[in-house]
């Protein structure tokens, strides 16, 4: 008995230490030079929590635990070491699925186990178990769909069909209704098969919600979806903590939930859209109704890489605006080479990064860091937007909607009000683009038709390599 109490005390101390490590570790992430040490501290906290748990007196056999740990490590380690930085959005999406899978399985197991208690699980526990399973299950399929869209085996276009919103609403209210019914009928432990069936149907409906939630959302809205799923995975983990009365799960889940929530809000703001609009709007559905200014009668000026090299090579102050096009073409190394060349010739190069450039929060920063661009060259929208009028050349790389001046000038535009990078203020603009296709929002970009704008058509990587060669020859 005494031994058991000492053991329990040790477990609690391990958990307290782990919580502190998580919080301090995240605090490290507020600065690039303390970030790495902070995360090492958080990893240590995790190790502490795991060791503490293994000493839990409830555990009677270790076979299944060891198999799970070994299999998980065997999959997780190569995933962590080998996944290329370019595949980071997919990898983040699929990791939400694994996290949610664990939480959902725990929820189901807890529900089945709780039916054996004499008095039932009680209202609070049943509420927590239901919430955990509901959010966990929808995050499993939602994350898998997001993974599919990012990996490209599911179309990145919004997928819509007639009556979609009605079906979604029916499924959603069905699941929530069952959840409430479960809390009312099962808390007291009335048992019986009806509870089991209700729980099973709720779980299946939650899995369906995950699919229907992400299907109509297009590729460019992925930063919001990925952040939101991050938040759900955290909240579900927190609910697990409530279900089993474990504080470290509550703390860690709340941290994850807060982080996902903040990111979702930031991403929505950066698109000037509400949460609800991103989730239920399915941009594509409304596209036909909006007739943005037509490009007829307007002409663009196309230039050759040699021509562009002349302008970039002699520029003193260059701002580069990367977008998803840079990621697709994997042009980040060529960009870094060009930036170094300009600096060697005495010019200044900065990168202007829009919050929703790419497919996840911070996507461009990671790609450029991978290509060895120093992080003090990377600037957010707010930091650099007033600087565009001072620069000789703004080089836009596969970014479109985030540079469209219509967001400021045309109240009829679907992206009106969205904060954009003031590329049009630069003395001259060079846009690298594969063709004249519109961006995700399906709107013409007036920027391309300005007198100061030159279009450099082609794959960002090969075009930039040519520019680099030309600049070297100047």
């Amino acid at each position: 008995m005494i031994d058991q109490q000492i053991g329990a005390l040790f477990v609690q101390i391990a958990y307290i230490g782990a919580s502190a490590a998580f919080i301090l570790g995240l605090r490290g992430l507020t600065k690039p030079d303390t970030a790495r040490r902070g995360m090492q501290l958080a990893a240590f906290g995790m190790l502490l929590a795991i060791i503490g748990t293994l000493l839990n007196h409830e555990i009677v056999s270790y076979e299944f635990i060891i198999i799970g740990l070994v299999v998980g490590s065997a999959i997780g380690l190569p995933m962590g070491l080998l996944v290329p930085m370019t595949a980071m959005p997919q990898r983040i999406a699929i990791s939400h699925m694994f996290g949610a899978l664990a939480v959902t399985l725990v929820g189901i197991a807890e529900f089945l186990h709780s039916r054996e208690y004499a008095g039932g699980p009680g209202v609070i526990k049943m509420t927590a178990i239901g919430f955990e399973t509901l959010f966990g299950a929808l995050t499993i399929t939602g994350s898998f769909m997001a993974f599919g869209k990012l990996q490209g085996f599911i179309s990145g276009q919004p997928i819509t069909f007639p009556g979609q919103k009605l079906i979604n609403a029916a499924v959603f209210f069905g699941a929530v209704g069952l959840y409430i019914a479960l809390v009312i009928t099962q808390s007291g432990g009335s048992g019986g098969d009806s509870g089991l069936i209700m729980f099973a149907v709720m779980t299946v409906l939650a899995l369906v919600i995950g699919v229907t939630l992400v299907l109509p959302i297009g590729g460019a809205d992925m930063p919001v979806v990925v952040s939101l799923l991050n938040s759900y995975a955290g909240l579900a983990a927190s609910a697990t903590g409530f279900a089993i009365g474990n504080n470290i799960l509550i703390v860690a889940g709340a941290l994850d939930g807060a982080s996902g929530f903040i990111l979702s809000i930031l991403m929505s703001k950066a698109m000037n859209r509400s949460f609800a609009n991103v989730l239920f709007g399915a941009f594509g559905g409304e596209k036909a109704a909006v007739s943005a200014k037509s490009a007829e009668g307007l002409t663009t000026r196309s230039v050759t890489p040699e021509d562009a090299a002349m302008r970039i090579g002699y520029a003193r102050n260059v701002i580069i605006v990367p977008g998803y096009g840079m990621a697709v073409a994997q042009a980040q190394h060529a960009v870094r080479e060009l930036a170094e060349l300009i600096e060697k010739r005495g010019g200044r190069v900065r990168f202007a990064i829009h919050p929703v450039a790419g497919r996840m929060p911070g996507h461009m920063n990671v790609l450029l860091a991978e290509a060895n661009v120093p992080y003090d060259h990377l600037f957010d929208l707010d930091e650099i937007n007033e600087e565009f009028h001072t620069c000789d050349v703004a080089l836009v790389l596969g970014a479109n909607d985030v540079t469209n001046p219509a967001a400021k000038s045309d109240p009829g535009s679907p992206i009106y009000g969205m904060p954009i990078l003031n590329v049009q203020d630069a003395e001259q603009v060079i846009v690298v683009k594969r063709g004249m296709a519109t961006g995700f929002a399906g709107i013409e970009n007036e920027l391309f038709y300005l007198d100061k704008t030159s279009m450099l058509f082609g794959d960002a990587k090969s075009v930039l390599s040519q520019v680099v060669t030309e600049v070297k020859g100047l």
Binding site: I16, I23, G68, G76, A102, A109, N247, V251, L255
Partner: protein, 127 residues
């Protein structure tokens, strides 16, 4: 600084909460009390998280997602208990799958976060 203070506040509340939950004190604490304390823990942790994470620069938003993902794989702790406790075999097996899934995130998540953070470098000082 405020973030640190908030963090300390949450940690203090956490200590209070966990000590309330140990078997020794359980007898004098009713079920509702224990669960109200859990709500406090959640709220304080959420506020702390909010304070700290709003200060994370956009530069590090991707590592932040990877990191919080790895941290929320703390559900491994719950999975371990289910896989190893005295429960029916099928529940132990569900626990085992949960352990594997959570371990993927713990191991993979921290490794990949470190890989990313390693890449962020400042301009080297000119020699």
């Amino acid at each position: 600084m405020t973030a640190l203070l908030t963090a300390l506040g949450a940690a203090a509340a956490f200590i209070a909460a966990t000590s309330g939950g140990t078997p020794t004190a359980a007898a004098s604490t009713t079920l509702i009390d224990a669960q109200i304390v859990e709500v406090y823990v959640f709220l304080l942790a959420a506020f702390t998280g909010f304070q700290i994470i709003t200060k994370v620069p956009p530069l590090l938003h991707t590592p932040l997602m990877a990191a919080t993902n790895a941290i929320s794989a703390i559900s491994l702790v719950a999975s371990i208990v289910i896989a190893g406790a005295e429960r029916p075999l099928y529940i132990n097996i569900m626990g085992m799958v949960a352990v594997a899934a959570a371990t993927i995130n713990v191991v993979g998540g921290f490794v990949i976060t470190d890989r990313m953070l390693k890449m962020f470098k400042k301009t080297e000082a000119p020699k």
